[in-house]
Protein backbone atom coordinates (compact mmCIF):
# COMPACT_ATOMS: atom_id res chain seq x y z
CA UNK A 1 0.00 0.00 0.00
CA UNK A 2 2.75 2.40 1.02
CA UNK A 3 4.86 1.55 -2.02
CA UNK A 4 1.89 1.89 -4.34
CA UNK A 5 1.06 5.29 -2.93
CA UNK A 6 4.59 6.63 -3.28
CA UNK A 7 5.29 5.07 -6.67
CA UNK A 8 2.01 6.30 -8.15
CA UNK A 9 2.72 9.81 -6.94
CA UNK A 10 6.24 9.77 -8.34
CA UNK A 11 5.01 8.40 -11.66
CA UNK A 12 2.58 11.30 -12.02
CA UNK A 13 5.35 13.83 -11.42
CA UNK A 14 7.76 12.02 -13.74
CA UNK A 15 5.21 11.89 -16.53
CA UNK A 16 4.59 15.60 -16.19
CA UNK A 17 8.28 16.46 -16.10
CA UNK A 18 9.47 14.31 -18.99
CA UNK A 19 7.41 15.77 -21.79
CA UNK A 20 9.29 17.76 -24.39
CA UNK A 21 9.31 21.28 -23.06
CA UNK A 22 9.19 24.15 -25.54
CA UNK A 23 11.97 26.68 -25.97
CA UNK A 24 11.23 30.17 -27.22
CA UNK A 25 13.60 31.96 -29.58
CA UNK A 26 12.83 35.64 -29.94
CA UNK A 27 13.01 37.18 -33.39
CA UNK A 28 16.32 38.90 -34.09
CA UNK A 29 14.43 42.06 -34.92
CA UNK A 30 10.91 43.34 -35.41
CA UNK A 31 9.81 43.68 -39.01
CA UNK A 32 8.39 47.08 -39.89
CA UNK A 33 6.82 48.16 -43.15
CA UNK A 34 5.06 51.28 -44.35
CA UNK A 35 7.46 53.69 -42.69
CA UNK A 36 7.17 57.13 -44.21
CA UNK A 37 10.45 57.83 -46.00
CA UNK A 38 9.91 61.59 -45.99
CA UNK A 39 10.64 61.60 -49.70
CA UNK A 40 7.56 61.86 -51.93
CA UNK A 41 9.44 60.09 -54.71
CA UNK A 42 10.14 57.09 -52.47
CA UNK A 43 6.99 55.26 -51.39
CA UNK A 44 7.17 53.33 -48.14
CA UNK A 45 8.13 49.69 -48.35
CA UNK A 46 5.17 47.33 -48.25
CA UNK A 47 7.12 44.16 -47.58
CA UNK A 48 10.05 43.20 -45.39
CA UNK A 49 11.66 39.91 -44.39
CA UNK A 50 13.73 38.77 -41.44
CA UNK A 51 15.63 35.52 -41.33
CA UNK A 52 16.49 33.30 -38.39
CA UNK A 53 18.54 30.11 -38.31
CA UNK A 54 18.15 27.75 -35.37
CA UNK A 55 21.20 27.36 -33.09
CA UNK A 56 21.99 23.66 -33.49
CA UNK A 57 24.91 21.95 -31.75
CA UNK A 58 27.37 20.00 -33.92
CA UNK A 59 26.50 16.45 -34.90
CA UNK A 60 28.10 13.76 -32.76
CA UNK A 61 30.26 11.03 -34.29
CA UNK A 62 27.69 8.42 -33.33
CA UNK A 63 24.96 10.41 -35.08
CA UNK A 64 27.14 10.83 -38.18
CA UNK A 65 27.79 7.10 -38.31
CA UNK A 66 24.11 6.30 -37.95
CA UNK A 67 23.14 8.87 -40.58
CA UNK A 68 25.71 7.59 -43.05
CA UNK A 69 24.51 4.03 -42.59
CA UNK A 70 20.98 5.14 -43.30
CA UNK A 71 22.12 7.16 -46.31
CA UNK A 72 23.65 4.02 -47.75
CA UNK A 73 20.47 2.07 -47.15
CA UNK A 74 18.22 4.72 -48.70
CA UNK A 75 20.55 5.76 -51.51
CA UNK A 76 20.12 9.47 -50.77
CA UNK A 77 22.01 12.09 -48.84
CA UNK A 78 20.34 12.86 -45.53
CA UNK A 79 20.40 16.06 -43.55
CA UNK A 80 21.74 16.24 -40.01
CA UNK A 81 18.44 17.70 -38.78
CA UNK A 82 15.52 15.68 -40.01
CA UNK A 83 11.75 15.72 -39.68
CA UNK A 84 10.71 14.81 -36.16
CA UNK A 85 13.88 16.09 -34.54
CA UNK A 86 12.29 19.47 -33.85
CA UNK A 87 8.67 20.53 -33.59
CA UNK A 88 8.61 24.17 -34.58
CA UNK A 89 5.87 26.76 -34.54
CA UNK A 90 5.98 30.52 -34.95
CA UNK A 91 3.84 32.86 -32.87
CA UNK A 92 3.43 36.35 -34.26
CA UNK A 93 1.78 39.66 -33.54
CA UNK A 94 1.09 42.43 -36.06
CA UNK A 95 0.47 45.96 -34.84
CA UNK A 96 -1.07 48.55 -37.12
CA UNK A 97 0.60 51.83 -36.24
CA UNK A 98 -1.36 53.83 -38.82
CA UNK A 99 -4.55 55.77 -38.31
CA UNK A 100 -6.28 53.80 -41.05
CA UNK A 101 -7.38 50.18 -41.31
CA UNK A 102 -5.04 47.98 -43.30
CA UNK A 103 -4.41 44.54 -44.67
CA UNK A 104 -1.47 42.35 -43.75
CA UNK A 105 -0.03 38.98 -44.67
CA UNK A 106 2.49 36.98 -42.70
CA UNK A 107 4.43 34.57 -44.88
CA UNK A 108 6.97 31.93 -44.06
CA UNK A 109 9.70 30.66 -46.33
CA UNK A 110 13.12 29.40 -45.43
CA UNK A 111 15.49 26.55 -45.85
CA UNK A 112 16.85 23.26 -44.71
CA UNK A 113 20.48 22.20 -44.56
CA UNK A 114 20.69 21.97 -48.37
CA UNK A 115 18.55 24.71 -49.91
CA UNK A 116 16.41 27.71 -49.12
CA UNK A 117 13.30 28.58 -51.05
CA UNK A 118 12.58 31.94 -52.65
CA UNK A 119 9.21 32.05 -54.45
CA UNK A 120 10.32 34.85 -56.78
CA UNK A 121 12.90 32.53 -58.32
CA UNK A 122 10.06 30.56 -59.91
CA UNK A 123 8.63 33.47 -61.88
CA UNK A 124 9.12 32.76 -65.55
CA UNK A 125 6.83 35.44 -66.95
CA UNK A 126 6.86 38.72 -65.00
CA UNK A 127 3.10 38.91 -65.42
CA UNK A 128 2.65 35.68 -63.47
CA UNK A 129 2.20 35.72 -59.73
CA UNK A 130 4.95 34.09 -57.71
CA UNK A 131 4.21 30.69 -56.24
CA UNK A 132 2.91 30.62 -52.68
CA UNK A 133 5.06 30.72 -49.60
CA UNK A 134 5.70 27.53 -47.68
CA UNK A 135 3.28 28.62 -44.94
CA UNK A 136 1.04 31.55 -44.07
CA UNK A 137 0.14 34.19 -46.64
CA UNK A 138 -3.50 34.62 -45.64
CA UNK A 139 -4.68 38.23 -45.94
CA UNK A 140 -5.88 39.66 -42.64
CA UNK A 141 -7.58 42.93 -41.77
CA UNK A 142 -5.83 44.93 -39.07
CA UNK A 143 -7.84 47.81 -37.63
CA UNK A 144 -6.26 51.21 -37.18
CA UNK A 145 -4.12 51.15 -34.06
CA UNK A 146 -5.06 47.52 -33.53
CA UNK A 147 -3.12 44.31 -32.96
CA UNK A 148 -3.73 40.82 -34.23
CA UNK A 149 -1.92 37.63 -33.25
CA UNK A 150 -1.58 34.22 -34.77
CA UNK A 151 0.42 31.04 -34.95
CA UNK A 152 2.03 29.13 -37.77
CA UNK A 153 1.41 25.77 -36.18
CA UNK A 154 3.71 22.80 -35.82
CA UNK A 155 1.79 20.77 -38.37
CA UNK A 156 1.99 23.62 -40.90
CA UNK A 157 5.75 23.90 -40.47
CA UNK A 158 6.16 20.14 -40.66
CA UNK A 159 4.28 20.23 -43.96
CA UNK A 160 6.49 23.14 -45.04
CA UNK A 161 9.60 21.01 -44.47
CA UNK A 162 8.17 18.23 -46.61
CA UNK A 163 7.19 20.68 -49.35
CA UNK A 164 10.62 22.32 -49.29
CA UNK A 165 12.34 18.98 -49.75
CA UNK A 166 10.01 18.06 -52.61
CA UNK A 167 10.43 21.44 -54.33
CA UNK A 168 14.21 21.58 -54.07
CA UNK A 169 15.79 18.15 -54.21
CA UNK A 170 12.65 16.59 -55.69
CA UNK A 171 12.22 19.41 -58.25
CA UNK A 172 8.47 19.31 -57.78
CA UNK A 173 6.40 22.28 -58.94
CA UNK A 174 5.89 24.54 -55.88
CA UNK A 175 2.17 24.90 -56.59
CA UNK A 176 1.80 21.12 -56.56
CA UNK A 177 3.95 20.70 -53.49
CA UNK A 178 2.40 23.45 -51.38
CA UNK A 179 -1.25 23.14 -52.36
CA UNK A 180 -1.28 19.39 -51.72
CA UNK A 181 -1.18 18.11 -48.18
CA UNK A 182 1.61 15.58 -47.90
CA UNK A 183 1.60 14.80 -44.21
CA UNK A 184 0.45 11.23 -44.80
CA UNK A 185 2.58 10.52 -47.85
CA UNK A 186 4.73 7.47 -47.16
CA UNK A 187 7.63 8.84 -49.19
CA UNK A 188 8.96 12.20 -50.35
CA UNK A 189 10.89 12.67 -53.61
CA UNK A 190 14.50 13.78 -53.36
CA UNK A 191 15.37 13.39 -57.03
CA UNK A 192 13.67 14.63 -60.20
CA UNK A 193 10.68 12.61 -61.38
CA UNK A 194 10.63 10.92 -57.97
CA UNK A 195 13.49 8.70 -59.10
CA UNK A 196 14.55 8.50 -55.47
CA UNK A 197 12.26 8.84 -52.51
CA UNK A 198 12.83 8.77 -48.77
CA UNK A 199 10.46 8.16 -45.87
CA UNK A 200 9.14 11.15 -43.99
CA UNK A 201 11.37 10.67 -40.97
CA UNK A 202 14.37 11.06 -43.28
CA UNK A 203 13.17 14.36 -44.78
CA UNK A 204 15.29 17.43 -44.04
CA UNK A 205 13.88 19.64 -41.30
CA UNK A 206 13.69 23.38 -41.92
CA UNK A 207 16.33 25.07 -39.82
CA UNK A 208 16.11 28.53 -41.38
CA UNK A 209 12.96 30.60 -41.21
CA UNK A 210 12.40 33.64 -43.41
CA UNK A 211 9.38 35.53 -42.06
CA UNK A 212 7.85 38.18 -44.31
CA UNK A 213 5.35 40.89 -43.49
CA UNK A 214 3.35 42.39 -46.33
CA UNK A 215 1.10 45.29 -45.43
CA UNK A 216 -0.47 48.34 -46.99
CA UNK A 217 -0.16 50.48 -43.85
CA UNK A 218 2.53 51.25 -41.33
CA UNK A 219 2.74 47.98 -39.37
CA UNK A 220 5.17 46.06 -37.19
CA UNK A 221 5.49 42.30 -36.95
CA UNK A 222 7.01 40.67 -33.89
CA UNK A 223 7.42 36.93 -33.70
CA UNK A 224 8.81 34.17 -31.54
CA UNK A 225 9.94 30.77 -32.76
CA UNK A 226 8.77 28.00 -30.43
CA UNK A 227 10.75 24.77 -30.63
CA UNK A 228 10.18 21.44 -28.95
CA UNK A 229 13.52 19.74 -29.22
CA UNK A 230 12.88 16.00 -29.47
CA UNK A 231 16.51 15.07 -30.10
CA UNK A 232 18.37 17.42 -27.77
CA UNK A 233 20.24 19.25 -30.53
CA UNK A 234 19.25 22.84 -29.78
CA UNK A 235 21.97 24.80 -28.00
CA UNK A 236 21.05 25.55 -24.38
CA UNK A 237 21.80 29.24 -24.75
CA UNK A 238 19.69 29.51 -27.89
CA UNK A 239 20.36 32.76 -29.76
CA UNK A 240 23.01 33.74 -27.22
CA UNK A 241 25.04 30.62 -28.05
CA UNK A 242 28.67 31.24 -29.03
CA UNK A 243 29.16 30.88 -32.78
CA UNK A 244 31.89 28.29 -32.24
CA UNK A 245 29.45 25.98 -30.47
CA UNK A 246 26.77 25.82 -33.13
CA UNK A 247 26.60 24.59 -36.69
CA UNK A 248 26.91 27.22 -39.40
CA UNK A 249 24.41 26.08 -41.99
CA UNK A 250 24.94 27.48 -45.47
CA UNK A 251 22.01 26.35 -47.59
CA UNK A 252 22.17 27.30 -51.25
CA UNK A 253 19.50 29.47 -52.80
CA UNK A 254 17.38 27.14 -54.86
CA UNK A 255 17.19 28.15 -58.51
CA UNK A 256 14.83 25.88 -60.43
CA UNK A 257 15.93 24.45 -63.74
CA UNK A 258 14.67 26.44 -66.73
CA UNK A 259 11.37 25.29 -68.20
CA UNK A 260 11.64 22.99 -71.19
CA UNK A 261 11.76 24.75 -74.54
CA UNK A 262 8.39 24.84 -76.29
Amino acid sequence: MRLAFVSTSLAVVAAAACTSDPRYLPAPTAIEVGVDTGDPTMPPATTATASMTLPIVPETMAAITAREARQTALGAELAYVRLGDLDVSIEWTVKNLAAADGMARVKLDGGNQFFYYTPANFIVDPRDPPPPSLAGGIPMAVPAGGTISGVLREDALREASIDLEAITRGELNPFAAIYNVNENDPAVPVAPMAATTIPQDAVSQMIRFDVTLEANQHMVLEYTVRVRDQRGILHDELMAAPAAEIVTFTPAEYIPPPPPAP
Binding site: S9, L10, A16, D21, Y24
Partner: protein, 187 residues
Protein backbone atom coordinates in the same frame (compact mmCIF):
# COMPACT_ATOMS: atom_id res chain seq x y z
CA UNK B 1 -19.23 31.46 21.63
CA UNK B 2 -20.01 28.80 19.07
CA UNK B 3 -16.40 28.92 17.86
CA UNK B 4 -15.16 28.42 21.38
CA UNK B 5 -17.42 25.43 21.73
CA UNK B 6 -16.01 23.90 18.55
CA UNK B 7 -12.46 24.46 19.73
CA UNK B 8 -13.31 23.03 23.11
CA UNK B 9 -14.80 19.98 21.45
CA UNK B 10 -11.66 19.45 19.42
CA UNK B 11 -9.42 19.80 22.42
CA UNK B 12 -11.55 17.90 24.88
CA UNK B 13 -10.19 14.51 25.97
CA UNK B 14 -12.63 12.29 24.15
CA UNK B 15 -12.27 8.81 22.84
CA UNK B 16 -10.81 10.31 19.69
CA UNK B 17 -8.09 12.01 21.71
CA UNK B 18 -6.61 8.63 22.32
CA UNK B 19 -6.40 8.17 18.60
CA UNK B 20 -2.98 6.77 17.82
CA UNK B 21 -0.72 8.11 15.09
CA UNK B 22 2.11 6.24 13.51
CA UNK B 23 5.66 7.51 13.70
CA UNK B 24 8.37 6.66 11.21
CA UNK B 25 8.78 6.88 7.48
CA UNK B 26 5.98 8.77 5.84
CA UNK B 27 4.82 10.02 2.46
CA UNK B 28 2.55 12.92 1.67
CA UNK B 29 0.76 13.81 -1.53
CA UNK B 30 -1.09 17.03 -1.95
CA UNK B 31 -3.06 19.01 -4.51
CA UNK B 32 -3.58 22.72 -4.43
CA UNK B 33 -2.71 25.96 -6.12
CA UNK B 34 0.33 28.17 -6.46
CA UNK B 35 0.70 31.81 -7.31
CA UNK B 36 3.68 34.05 -7.78
CA UNK B 37 4.06 37.31 -5.92
CA UNK B 38 5.55 40.67 -6.71
CA UNK B 39 6.51 41.63 -10.24
CA UNK B 40 6.51 37.97 -11.31
CA UNK B 41 2.76 37.98 -10.75
CA UNK B 42 2.49 40.13 -13.88
CA UNK B 43 4.08 37.38 -15.97
CA UNK B 44 2.56 34.22 -14.50
CA UNK B 45 -1.00 33.47 -13.51
CA UNK B 46 -1.98 31.30 -10.52
CA UNK B 47 -2.23 27.64 -11.37
CA UNK B 48 -2.73 24.13 -10.02
CA UNK B 49 0.02 22.55 -7.96
CA UNK B 50 1.02 19.02 -7.01
CA UNK B 51 3.14 18.39 -3.93
CA UNK B 52 4.94 15.27 -2.71
CA UNK B 53 6.94 14.75 0.42
CA UNK B 54 8.78 11.79 1.84
CA UNK B 55 10.20 12.02 5.33
CA UNK B 56 11.15 10.34 8.53
CA UNK B 57 9.97 11.19 12.03
CA UNK B 58 13.09 11.36 14.17
CA UNK B 59 10.87 12.25 17.11
CA UNK B 60 7.15 12.73 17.45
CA UNK B 61 7.75 16.48 17.13
CA UNK B 62 10.55 16.62 14.57
CA UNK B 63 11.04 15.10 11.15
CA UNK B 64 13.29 15.50 8.16
CA UNK B 65 12.42 14.86 4.56
CA UNK B 66 12.59 15.71 0.92
CA UNK B 67 9.80 17.45 -0.92
CA UNK B 68 8.95 18.07 -4.55
CA UNK B 69 6.38 20.46 -5.95
CA UNK B 70 5.16 21.06 -9.46
CA UNK B 71 2.86 23.84 -10.54
CA UNK B 72 1.71 25.08 -13.91
CA UNK B 73 1.08 28.70 -14.80
CA UNK B 74 -0.07 30.63 -17.82
CA UNK B 75 2.74 32.89 -18.98
CA UNK B 76 1.39 36.37 -19.55
CA UNK B 77 4.53 37.89 -21.01
CA UNK B 78 4.25 40.61 -23.68
CA UNK B 79 3.09 39.00 -26.94
CA UNK B 80 4.31 37.05 -28.71
CA UNK B 81 3.94 34.39 -27.41
CA UNK B 82 0.43 34.36 -26.02
CA UNK B 83 -1.46 31.63 -24.21
CA UNK B 84 1.63 29.63 -23.37
CA UNK B 85 2.12 27.77 -20.11
CA UNK B 86 5.19 27.23 -17.99
CA UNK B 87 5.75 24.68 -15.26
CA UNK B 88 7.69 25.43 -12.10
CA UNK B 89 9.30 22.41 -10.45
CA UNK B 90 10.80 22.66 -6.99
CA UNK B 91 12.68 20.08 -4.93
CA UNK B 92 14.24 20.52 -1.53
CA UNK B 93 15.41 18.92 1.66
CA UNK B 94 13.63 20.24 4.69
CA UNK B 95 12.83 19.83 8.35
CA UNK B 96 9.48 19.97 10.08
CA UNK B 97 8.49 20.81 13.64
CA UNK B 98 5.15 19.41 14.78
CA UNK B 99 3.00 20.21 17.78
CA UNK B 100 0.29 17.68 18.33
CA UNK B 101 -2.88 18.32 20.32
CA UNK B 102 -4.92 15.15 20.32
CA UNK B 103 -6.00 14.46 16.73
CA UNK B 104 -4.87 17.85 15.46
CA UNK B 105 -1.25 18.60 14.68
CA UNK B 106 0.17 21.94 13.71
CA UNK B 107 3.48 22.06 11.93
CA UNK B 108 6.04 24.47 10.59
CA UNK B 109 8.68 23.53 8.06
CA UNK B 110 11.47 25.00 6.02
CA UNK B 111 14.10 23.86 3.58
CA UNK B 112 16.35 24.60 0.68
CA UNK B 113 16.83 23.04 -2.72
CA UNK B 114 16.46 23.89 -6.38
CA UNK B 115 13.80 25.21 -8.71
CA UNK B 116 13.43 24.53 -12.40
CA UNK B 117 11.34 26.27 -15.05
CA UNK B 118 10.12 24.04 -17.86
CA UNK B 119 10.80 26.54 -20.62
CA UNK B 120 12.51 29.85 -21.21
CA UNK B 121 9.30 31.76 -21.83
CA UNK B 122 10.06 34.05 -18.87
CA UNK B 123 13.45 34.95 -20.31
CA UNK B 124 11.75 37.69 -22.25
CA UNK B 125 10.87 39.54 -19.06
CA UNK B 126 14.19 38.95 -17.34
CA UNK B 127 13.12 36.25 -14.91
CA UNK B 128 15.64 33.89 -16.51
CA UNK B 129 19.05 34.50 -18.00
CA UNK B 130 19.80 32.99 -21.44
CA UNK B 131 20.01 29.23 -21.09
CA UNK B 132 19.04 29.26 -17.43
CA UNK B 133 16.69 26.53 -16.28
CA UNK B 134 17.68 26.00 -12.63
CA UNK B 135 18.08 28.19 -9.58
CA UNK B 136 18.55 27.79 -5.86
CA UNK B 137 15.25 27.86 -4.01
CA UNK B 138 14.05 28.19 -0.46
CA UNK B 139 10.68 27.41 1.04
CA UNK B 140 9.05 27.80 4.42
CA UNK B 141 5.54 27.19 5.57
CA UNK B 142 3.18 25.52 7.90
CA UNK B 143 -0.09 23.74 8.18
CA UNK B 144 -2.52 21.63 10.04
CA UNK B 145 -2.99 17.85 10.09
CA UNK B 146 -6.00 15.86 11.16
CA UNK B 147 -5.26 12.31 12.25
CA UNK B 148 -7.75 9.76 10.94
CA UNK B 149 -8.86 6.77 12.97
CA UNK B 150 -6.47 4.56 11.06
CA UNK B 151 -3.17 5.44 12.72
CA UNK B 152 -1.32 5.42 9.39
CA UNK B 153 -3.37 8.15 7.75
CA UNK B 154 -3.79 11.86 8.23
CA UNK B 155 -5.19 14.62 6.08
CA UNK B 156 -4.17 18.22 6.21
CA UNK B 157 -4.03 21.70 4.85
CA UNK B 158 -0.66 23.27 4.24
CA UNK B 159 0.81 26.39 2.80
CA UNK B 160 4.24 27.68 2.03
CA UNK B 161 6.17 30.62 0.74
CA UNK B 162 8.92 29.98 -1.78
CA UNK B 163 11.72 32.09 -3.14
CA UNK B 164 14.12 31.45 -6.02
CA UNK B 165 16.70 34.25 -5.91
CA UNK B 166 18.32 33.10 -9.17
CA UNK B 167 15.10 33.61 -11.10
CA UNK B 168 15.13 37.35 -10.52
CA UNK B 169 13.89 36.73 -6.95
CA UNK B 170 10.85 34.82 -8.15
CA UNK B 171 8.64 34.34 -5.10
CA UNK B 172 5.24 32.83 -4.51
CA UNK B 173 2.88 30.95 -2.28
CA UNK B 174 1.39 27.49 -2.50
CA UNK B 175 -1.65 26.17 -0.65
CA UNK B 176 -2.57 22.48 -0.73
CA UNK B 177 -4.74 19.78 0.74
CA UNK B 178 -2.78 16.63 1.40
CA UNK B 179 -2.99 13.05 2.50
CA UNK B 180 -0.25 11.59 4.67
CA UNK B 181 0.60 7.95 5.06
CA UNK B 182 2.99 6.95 7.84
CA UNK B 183 4.53 3.52 8.09
CA UNK B 184 5.45 2.67 11.63
CA UNK B 185 4.25 2.10 15.15
CA UNK B 186 2.21 4.46 17.24
CA UNK B 187 3.84 7.53 18.73
Amino acid sequence: MRRLAVVAMLLAPTAASARPASQGVYAEAGLGAAATLGKAADWTQPGPALALRVGYDLFSWFSVGVAADASTHEATVPAPPTGEYVQLYRARADARLTARVQMIALYAEGGAGAAMLSSNVLEKVGVQDPGQRFALAFAAGGGLEYQLQNRHYAVGLGGEYFLAPGFDALAGIEVRLFLRYTYGGAR
